[in-house]
Symmetry: C2
Subunit: 249 residues, 2 copies
């Protein structure tokens, strides 16, 4: 049985708590949050605290707060003999605690949407093999996919995720707007979007590219550019078309 | 019982044939293809022909050939009293047959990957309510989602799909390359990609945008740009970041 303390009470902490609650071998013995409001939900589920002095000994403290607050918060933990792992994709492993680590579940979390944690990759990093092993045990108790990833790799992964998720979501928004402007239900595109995302699990996106850019179908490209009124959208269309063609030269 | 003839033997025809074969009320009475090679697979499943003169009367001819070949092929069908519907997203409804229509299943098809046709939207268009009704019956026999969509709307839908699918797939490829260059398995991103695609069915992508651009997190944006070596990728990053911020002004 491993005992952990969750620090933070936002989306990530909420979902981690729910996931650990379902395990047999991990117990969340405390939740810390500076503001007591957000702790209400957890009050009759575990001990809730807003004072660092009340932190109990544990196998690990998991710090699930905003990227900005992570560093400062960990610096307050001081030199307790406990593994302190944060959950941020963009903060490197720190060195301000006595034993430092990272426990980064790579997913976008919204409180309203339940997630199946077993499919969420957890990227772990620690200063010693022993501490890495603790994080692996925690990770494997809630997820089928646990990857040791260095801070440098995680930085690149975060960058890759901006392309694969944030920018992709924006392309969905652009498509939705084109639909709205032409009285077409955006739902007509849902199946295609889902299939495009599903295909990458079976083959590299390099091999599955379709459409006018990779076909070098100049007349369709010209027709599309003509239909786009916004200069920004024209520019995005042109740039991504060129980039697809260079990729397939 | 409706009788149809499939014209073409590529990916779309293959999947349409498989889908119609499973229905009780639609019968594919013939497959036409110019080259006999591609018809081999269908030989003991239906009648296969390579000569237009052998075309039988039917409720509809479904023309599932390349965008380029669609017009010419339909012009050869002549003035038979049969509804001739093509399956192309980027070709408008034609007027060269006696009765014209469109039967456009909006999905990317690969022969190797089986699809669940019931989830694939079928966009239909015809010159008369009677012919639209035929296409609706055909569509609803294989799919739960049949939408009457005009040629003008379909043109816009095709444009929207380039953003939501072709360009999105290219962003996946960029992310994959970043992973490859840093010895990170691209599979680490699969769950996030799938979730991003899944979320649009629950909420508009406008409301679910996350990441440094929408947070206007200038220091992370600068860090990301610094890490991108390719000028093209820098340009894509900058342009999409600006576009996300304008969308959320």
């Amino acid at each position: 049985m491993k005992k952990i303390v969750l620090i933070g009470a936002g989306n990530v902490a909420y979902h981690l708590f729910a996931a650990f609650e379902k395990t047999k071998n991990i117990k969340v013995i405390q939740m810390y949050n500076r503001g007591a409001d957000k702790l209400k939900y957890f009050e009759n589920k575990t001990q809730t605290i807003s004072d660092f002095d009340l932190l109990k000994p544990a196998d690990a403290y998991i710090v699930a707060v905003s990227d900005r607050a992570t560093r400062e918060l960990i610096s307050h933990i001081g030199d307790r003999d406990v593994l302190v792992a944060h959950t941020s994709g963009s903060v490197p492993m720190l060195n301000s605690a006595k034993r430092n680590g990272v426990f980064y579940p790579l997913q976008t979390f919204s409180k309203q949407i339940e997630v199946n944690f077993s499919e969420i990759p957890v990227c772990i990093e620690a200063e010693t093999p022993k501490d890495l092993e603790i994080l692996r045990i925690l990770g494997e108790s809630i997820s089928e996919k646990v990857y040791p990833i260095s801070s440098e790799q995680r930085k690149k992964l975060h960058l890759a995720a901006v392309f694969a998720c944030n920018f992709t979501n924006h392309l969905y928004r652009i498509a939705e707007k084109i639909c709205e402007q032409n009285d077409v239900p955006f739902a007509v595109l849902h199946a295609l979007i889902k299939e495009t995302a599903r295909k990458i699990e079976m083959d590299s996106p390099k091999n599955t590219q379709t459409g006018p850019a990779v076909r070098r179908d100049q007349s369709t490209i010209a027709l599309h550019l003509e239909q786009l009124e916004s200069p920004d959208l024209k520019e995005i269309y042109t740039l991504l078309t060129r980039s697809i063609q260079e990729e397939n030269d």
